[in-house]
């Protein structure tokens, strides 16, 4: 399948200077983002998923720096751009939706003003035309009575509505890539489902390429085409949505899937990952997940596993895929994933 690569990360290493010590946040990631796909990046807090995406938009914290590696976007390397150059890309070509809609909007300006600001900067649309476009955008993100809503301020909106406004601002400039950093974590389950559906329909309408960052594997089943699982600053497994859910290979992916409450049975212990993520100040030897892996192999502590190709689209960094490794079957819970169905019984909403 020949698909155009929009963004290409090669062997990226990112470090943070912290009190004279260096924290190795991204440890050699290579990743291709294809035109029109939606890629979910999943991992625990501290796994580096947000740091990785901040590199795409030039918002790395002041004490962070790219030590080596490149990110190709639009024919150039964007790892060492100046602030002036970033202003061309950020918002216009790569846009981002933050986790908390309460803090990402300006409380002092009406939302109409905030949408028009984006239009003015990136597309030079002003005055009546901008107003018209803003109304159109609000309708697109499912806000009723857009003309009245334009004049209102963020505090007059509910959390879900605010996130819709943030999405409207993000897509206002027709970006190529839209990064969603935990866009539904602060929201209720019902609103979360609506926002996910909205993102999906916008992706088709605007031809967006989505990068979806979350810690909850449960929410990405519907929205993601491909899933990258991150652990300790590295992508340990990447594959299509079906491959990750139905045929996961890395023990960490197994652990993440097994700990979902949807897979638990009442009265029994829910699977939980033991231990804590590794200290990224210290060099990591071997497989970073080995100390928390109940069936770690001896080699896991010595050598870092390379990618083993499972299929054309699926690869994982684990020695278990080596031909000499013992056969270890994934935990039972995740073999039953296929049987999880709608939880509402027969009287559900499928009519």
């Amino acid at each position: 399948m020949e698909r155009e690569v929009v963004l290409s990360v090669r062997d990226l290493n990112v470090k943070f200077r912290m009190r004279k010590k260096a924290l190795h946040a991204i440890r050699g990631i290579s990743l291709d983002l294809y035109q029109g796909e939606s890629l979910a990046i999943v991992g625990e807090s501290g796994s580096g998923k947000s740091v990785l995406s901040k590199n795409f938009i030039g918002l790395l914290d002041k004490n962070g720096y790219v030590e080596s590696g490149t990110i190709q976007f639009g024919g150039k390397d964007i790892t060492h751009l100046k602030e002036k150059e970033w202003e061309q890309i950020r918002g216009g070509q790569i846009a981002m939706i933050m986790q908390d809609p309460m803090t990402s909007l300006n409380p002092l300006k009406s939302i109409g003003w905030q949408i028009c600001e984006a239009l003015k900067y990136h597309r030079k649309i002003v005055g009546q035309a901008a107003q018209k476009k803003a109304v159109e955008l609000l309708t697109d993100v499912g806000i009723t009575e857009p003309e009245t809503r334009l004049k209102q301020y963020p505090h007059e909106f509910s959390g879900g509505m605010r996130q819709r406004v943030a999405i409207a601002i993000a897509v206002a400039c027709n970006p190529q890539v839209l990064i969603c950093d935990e866009p539904t974590t602060a929201l209720d389950v019902t609103i979360q489902a609506q926002i996910l559906n909205l993102l999906k329909s916008l992706k088709d309408r605007y031809g967006l390429t989505l990068v979806f960052i979350t810690h909850d594997l449960g929410v990405v089943a519907n929205i993601a085409d491909r899933i990258a699982v991150m652990y300790a600053g590295d992508i340990v497994e990447i594959g299509t949505c079906d491959e990750i859910f139905y045929d996961p290979k890395h023990p960490y992916t197994w652990a993440l899937l097994s700990s979902l409450p949807q897979l638990g049975t009442k009265g029994e212990k829910l699977y939980s990952i033991q231990g804590t993520p590794p200290n990224l100040y210290l060099p990591i030897r071997g497989d970073a997940f080995a100390p928390r892996n109940p069936n770690a192999l001896a080699i896991d502590y010595l050598h870092r596993p390379p990618y083993f190709q499972v299929s054309e689209t699926h690869k994982a960094k684990t020695w278990l895929l080596d031909s000499r490794a013992p056969k270890i079957a994934p935990p039972e819970q995740i073999q039953s994933i296929r049987s999880i169905c709608f939880l509402g019984g027969e009287t559900d909403g499928r009519e």
Partner: protein, 314 residues
């Protein structure tokens, strides 16, 4: 399910209003339920539905404006004697949602956990206090030496454990857990959920578990009540509720649960609850029992329909 049904807490027609007179807003509009000894009772609703207000009213953080709350046979709402107030504080404890915000940043873990004891069990020796704190910390899977540290030195999951230790040290019989895991990572959620259910088994605790996520509820609750705009709309045993959700709002909540199965998720149809689908202008809804233990807010016509559905399903 709990066999011998001894009612521990009974909420009768509870009403809570904020503000005065013209500006008053009724957040809880007359809800009733019983919680039995040893069970986990789940209260589910969206933000703004009043679920947290119910929990806070029970623990006497917010005054009630109508109805009453009965705990262990004694009324604990409204004006009560001091001695009873102390008893309530000892017996009912709360675990809060955000472990980042609910711990005093300037106090050491030792003091945070001990504070309740200092107020209710005066005159213990320093050694006894220390022993109790260390035991509480070990009960929740933390090391005793953590007592000398400050909250910022801990991760989110560990902080939530400190919050649980603080509740446990009072030896309560009833714990209100207000969204104890929604601020935590998925992998840590499992640890905290396991801890809560272990503690329940060991000590026969009763939980009121407040959350917006039904998938977690299914794992931990014996019975679930669904709250919408300050009124309960449906209450049943967990599996019954999942098998036969009757109220359209419950169905909408269930349809919103994300499924970790791409195939099922792609076929799933999201339901959105529209209150206009019910016509209550002539026939107002009442809180009635549609089948044994399965309560629902419905008018007479709907109730008839629901009873048929349940009969048919059996």
């Amino acid at each position: 399910m709990v066999e011998n049904k001894e009612v521990l807490l009974s909420v009768k027609d509870l009403k809570v209003a904020f503000g005065a007179k013209k500006h008053s807003f009724e957040a809880v509009r007359g809800i009733s339920f019983d919680i039995y000894k040893g069970e986990t009772f789940g209260l589910v609703g969206e933000s703004g539905s009043g679920k947290t207000t119910v929990g806070r009213a029970i623990i006497r953080l917010i005054p009630v404006s109508g109805g009453e709350i009965i705990f262990n046979g004694e009324r604990i709402s409204g004006k009560i004697p001091r001695a009873l107030d102390k008893k309530v504080i000892r017996n009912i404890q709360m675990i809060f949602q955000d472990p980042m915000a609910s711990l005093n940043e300037r106090a050491k873990v030792d003091y945070i956990v001990k504070e309740g004891l200092l107020n209710t069990e005066k005159g213990l020796s320093a050694q006894e206090y220390e022993n109790r704190v260390q035991k509480a910390l070990m009960d929740v899977g933390l090391l005793p030496e953590f007592a000398g540290r400050f909250p910022h030195e801990f991760s989110g999951g560990q902080r939530q454990r400190i919050g649980i230790a603080r509740a446990l040290i009072m030896k309560p019989s009833f714990i209100i857990a207000d969204e104890p895991i929604s601020a935590l990572d998925v992998s840590i959620r499992a640890q905290v959920l396991n801890l809560l259910s272990n503690l329940q088994k060991e000590r026969g605790l009763t939980y009121l578990f407040i959350a917006h996520d039904l998938s977690v509820m299914r794992f931990i609750s014996d019975r679930i009540a669904v709250i919408h705009k300050g009124r309960l709309v449906e209450m049943a045993e967990t599996e019954k509720l999942f098998q036969h959700p009757l109220h359209p709002y419950t169905q909408a909540l269930l349809s919103a649960i994300p499924l970790p199965n791409p195939e099922a998720e792609k076929q799933k149809k999201l339901k959105i609850y529209d209150p206009a689908c019910q016509d209550y202008s002539t026939d107002p809804p009442v809180w009635a029992e549609a089948a044994e233990g399965h309560f629902i807010l419905a008018n007479q016509a709907e109730l008839k329909k629901y009873r048929e559905v349940l009969q048919h399903a059996r």
